[in-house]
């Protein structure tokens, strides 16, 4: 059985602090890396160079950007309702740290032994929408309001197929704990059993993180900045930080549920886990730099009229097949 | 075809003076007509039935000789290259009738003529300026609108 932080540190408070430190360290390092990766991937796909000035291949570029953002003045416009406006970045970031603590790191390392980690993950992931809505409505500017309304409708619409797809996996694995789901998949990853669920999950996940063809809440060309139009300085950085952390979480969830977490032939578990996560992140970036944006009502129709029925059908078929076996 | 057009035109507007320009290609139109501003709506109606569009409407500041503004209308056909130019003189202080009720493109053209020359059109749905900033009290394209010749020193650069 895996050992968790409480076994190591003894009293739970110390374990929680250590876990948060590890998560924050991983997330911030990861965000820097992902921003750099996004700029390099988009540049290469557009036959451009991407950042090359700071550090080898421009690796330190994001570090310099972060320092610049930290140095910038935090402007709070007067026409803004302060409570909502100031709480938005925090509201967006807290659920992300919470979700991270639920992931099993490798075969024998877990933050904490949960047996229903999946339910918690889905609960927390729907909380980050509150942050976006608080930002949009709090900024009291027409474009942000439109962005906020759009983001709520989109997240509700894509929460349903996400959960249905996850349910299909739970049916196959007969367990709600992420650790056990990952362990079950040692010989064959679930993607072979549930290809349709994997596709639906991945599409719904991209929409959940407001990226690629589903990035209408902050559609630059229509709503200028969408919900984060009025933010500046490190608050704007926080939204960026939250977006990329969301991406990592969703891809980590996808690897655990469908690609068999840390199972892999020769390399150690954690390395396999990171390779799969970054491969999925690369695909997400690939989406963003290839497709135009869906229109708002088409996006909702796509979910309600197509993804949800497909997910339900997939669930029924899985239940039928499991019943017969 | 255009002969029947000219006949219906002459029925509606008897005292229309027409001058044929097919011989001089530089004029760029098949015929130039001189009429008064009062019969512009009638002319516009004839051309609307015949499938023409109001391609251009502009104004000339002729106050130096004759003390009038001259409106220039161009009606042009969609498929056959056929263009008719109408010159209508506007007596000072008299507002020519609008063609915007028949041709929507006239709406912005007339607003531009008002903006540049100060000639207001009676019956125009939204007679306001279109190019210069709101609240401007000058009409730039008038001949006496003060402007320094480019070779003078004070031509606006610091």
């Amino acid at each position: 059985m895996p050992r968790d932080f409480v076994d190591i540190f003894g009293n739970p408070w110390l374990a929680a602090a250590a876990a948060i430190a590890v998560i924050m360290g991983f997330l911030s390092l990861n965000a820097l890396m992902l921003i750099w990766m996004e700029r390099k991937v988009s540049a290469r796909m557009q036959r451009r160079m991407g950042p090359t000035e700071r550090g080898p291949f421009g690796l330190l570029q994001t570090m310099f950007d972060m320092i610049k953002l930290l140095g910038k003045e935090l402007i709070t416009p007067t026409h803004v309702s302060r409570k909502l406006y100031l709480s938005a970045p925090v509201l967006m970031f807290v659920p992300i740290v919470a979700i991270c603590s639920l992931f099993p790191l490798s075969e024998n390392w877990v933050f904490h032994k949960y047996d229903i980690a999946l339910v918690l993950v889905l609960a927390f992931s729907s909380m980050s929408i509150l942050g976006i809505f608080a930002a949009g409505w709090g900024s009291n500017n027409k474009y942000s309001l439109l962005g906020a309304i759009r983001s709520i409708l989109q997240n509700i619409a894509y929460e349903v197929p996400l959960i249905l797809a996850v349910l299909a996996v739970v049916l196959v694995a007969r367990s709600l704990s992420l650790y056990e789901i990952a362990m079950e998949q040692s010989p064959i990853p679930y993607i072979l059993f549930q290809p349709l669920a994997a596709v639906i999950f991945f599409i719904a996940a991209t929409a959940e993180t407001n990226r690629a063809p589903f990035d209408i809440p902050e559609a630059e060309s229509e709503l200028i900045g969408g919900f984060h139009t009025e933010y500046s300085g490190m608050r704007f950085g926080m939204f960026f930080f939250a977006e990329y952390s969301n991406m990592v979480i969703v891809c980590a969830l996808a690897t655990i549920l469908f690609l068999g977490g840390w199972h892999g032939p020769v390399l150690p578990g954690v390395v396999w886990f990171l390779i799969k996560v970054y491969a999925l992140i690369f695909i997400m970036m690939w989406f963003r730099w290839t497709f135009p944006r869906l229109r708002f009502d088409q996006l909702l129709k796509f979910s309600w009229l197509l993804l949800v029925p497909l997910a339900v059908a997939n669930l029924l078929v899985t239940a039928l097949v499991l019943k017969l076996l | 075809m255009s002969t029947t057009l000219l006949d219906t035109l002459r029925q509606r507007v008897p005292e229309l003076k027409t001058e044929d320009n097919t011989s001089t290609p530089a004029a760029g139109c098949t015929a130039t007509h001189v009429c008064t501003t009062a019969d512009i709506p009638a002319i516009a109606e004839v051309f609307k039935q015949a499938g023409y569009c109001l391609e251009m409407l502009t104004c000339l500041d002729m106050r130096a000789d004759g003390g009038i503004f001259r409106l220039v209308y161009h009606f042009s056909r969609a498929d056959v290259p056929d263009r008719h130019r109408f010159l209508a003189d506007v007596e000072p202080g008299h507002e020519p009738p609008t063609a915007a009720l028949l041709f929507e493109s006239a709406n912005w053209y007339e607003r531009e003529v008002y903006d540049m020359y100060g000639v207001r059109f009676a019956g125009h749905p939204d007679m306001t300026r279109i190019l210069t900033e709101e609240g401007a009290d000058y009409h730039p394209l008038l001949k006496d609108f003060g402007v320094a010749h480019p070779t003078d020193e004070g031509n606006g650069n610091a």
Partner: protein, 198 residues
Amino acid sequence: MQSLLDIPRGARSLLKGMGVTIRHFFRKPVTVEYPRKRAPVAKAHRNAIVLIEKDDIGSHNCIACLQCEKICPSACISITGSRPDGIAFKRPDKFDVDFALCSDCGLCLDVCPTDTLGYSEVYDAAGYSRADSKFDLLEAWRDKEGEALGTLRERERKKKEEREAKRKAAEEAKAKAAAKEKAEGKEDDKTGNGTAAS
């Protein structure tokens, strides 16, 4: 939104679109890191105008005729010229161009009678105020002016001598021609005056 038949066709079109971007992902970038490396500029590119050297004089050959100042649509050239002694043409004392106004139309090059205006290599000149964009084109030729005046005076003198020589030659030719005519005139009288004296 679209019938269920569209899903395979739609999915295939999305995947083929992704195929295009991934192919470009592995190709070489086409951009140049501007401040570090510079893309080649076309030879005929109309940069800031400059007085170019006319080889025989060793300096520019501007005769301050003010043609370019008159033709310039944005009035950005201002020249004052004066006639140094011993030379038939004027030489410019001041030749200022305000490149904030210049619209690179090339009309000044067309009208220049002595073709002494050309384009320089400067395309990214920048300044902090409008005054920085006022260039004095004579600055580059200030030191060569004395020597150029020398060659011009010398050329002027040579031309004057040629003119004298030509004039003298013309007079002799006229004198000889007149003498020959008188000689023929006498012969006509001798051979009888059938032909009328021309």
